[in-house]
Amino acid sequence: MGANIYRNKKPVLVFLAPALLFMAVYLYYPFLKNILNSFMDIKQLGRPGTSFNSPWYANYAEMFRDPNVWIAIKNTLLMMVVTLIGQVGIAMVLALMVDNIGRGKQFFKTVFFFPIVISATALGLLFNLIFLYDKGMINQILEAFGKSQLTDWKAEGIALFTMMLPVMWQYVGFYFVILVTGLNNISDELYEAAKIDGASTWQKVRYISIPLLHNVICTCSVLAVTGALKVFDLPWTMFPKGMPLKTTFLTGTYMYYHTMETKNVDYGSALAVLIVVLGIILSKVVNSIFREKDY
């Protein structure tokens, strides 16, 4: 019977057409066009490529020679480690703690999550003030603890730390909520059985919570790694153009830099292709490390 209603296939086209048209025009076509663009010569944003580069792979050859590409890739990989360990790790610790307390669960959920709602641009401005050299919040706190020298948080060497800390901080709550939801789905009976057998809190966490959360942790890790490739707003607000001395580029900000600042649009396209390739490789790697299991 169920198949009867949907035997007449004509409405399908009407239902699907708007969404598919949109995605074809704004997603699939530009995606392929971008790959083509990366082999062309484009002088200005908005202009079509006139001729192919000579040799046609010139942009990709350039990538290997460009030291900033390696800096950007290195920084992005570091960003991934930070998001994996910092975001998912801290979120895991907080989630296990919140799961084991009685009161205030909802409060902590609300408070931990809210930085995600705020735009990364506004947070960039906020952290610019917090990390200000001349008496920003951090330097004032350090001063109160008796540190006499001010730290220039945007200087070379420490700039990466200053950039990654807010990015990490913002999304801890996101993974926290996912993990807490995962912990809530674990049946209480398992914990009760463990309690009867005399398991300590730590043993319950180690032998029940973490194994049963395996798939959720896997999802979080994939999200954290692919998310690290998409980071743009906050680093660009705090450290535009790879300041200082082009040491803080991420793959995304470097792509924007070439597209909009140096007007090397075809090189920007090639960098965008690099981001896609990195994304595919890295999510495969993460997936094979945390292979989903059925318990």
């Binding site: 019977m1 409405p11 239902f15 699907l16 908005g46 709602v117 705020i118 607000t237 965008a272 292709v273």
Partner: protein, 286 residues
Amino acid sequence: MTKKEKSTIGRSLVYLILIIWSMTTVYPIIWVVQNSFKAKDKILADSFSLPFGELFTFANYRKAFGNLNILGAYKNSIFISAMVALFVILFAGMGAYALSRYRFFGSQALHSLIIAGMMFPVFATIIPVFSMEFAWGIASTNSWFLTMLSVILPQVAGNLSFAMVVLIGYIKGLPIELEEAAYMEGCNAFQIYFKVVLPLTKPSFATVAIFSFLWSYNDLFTQMFFMRRPDMYGITMLLNQLTAKEGTNYGLMASAVTLVIVPVIIVYCFLQKYIIKGMTAGAVKG
């Protein structure tokens, strides 16, 4: 030490750590709000004191409303985000319904194509999208409506695949018997969708709408490509330009950040349940 004492200490320690993390998320906001009420040269002297008595001033806010087009930027951002959310739920809802109920040639392939659409980073599509809109005469114009449209269209496309994945998951879980009943009464497919499926899918639509709205509202990257004239800036673009131009006027920065953050926090307090669900839906395959 008895077992009970031990667990009390452990519990207090857990609460202490949780409260410390809460402080890291809450205090920076309080800090920036309190400093936005101080004169720009007094902010840095002692940024932890509350702005009472002589310290208190509205100067930063007068400057913010005077020099910056904050209300205009709000209007632009809210218009864009509302349109994005509206078109996403309209198109994604219809598409998701067709894909969850009809079996046709290529429906499996189409499903994979939509999931693949979620993986396309905006970096990989933005340059051709800009060229395309430029060729159509939508991008880089002086018209307010066209500028808004040039931001709305790519953002709708960027949210569609995610929205469809969430909605397909939900619609597949709805009991088909209701649709059969409607069919027996003589409804056609469109009536079934709008009168039976749509009302039942409301919670999931809310999730998708909130996600799309917030994503669009907070996005800077697309705005940086398509917004050229200051009177057409959205909120994030306005803030970004503010750092470039007035990066040392800390009072103005603090008041601008406050003006942008506080309304969002107020909305968040009222709708937090739905917002948290909306933002994490993609991950938990809701």
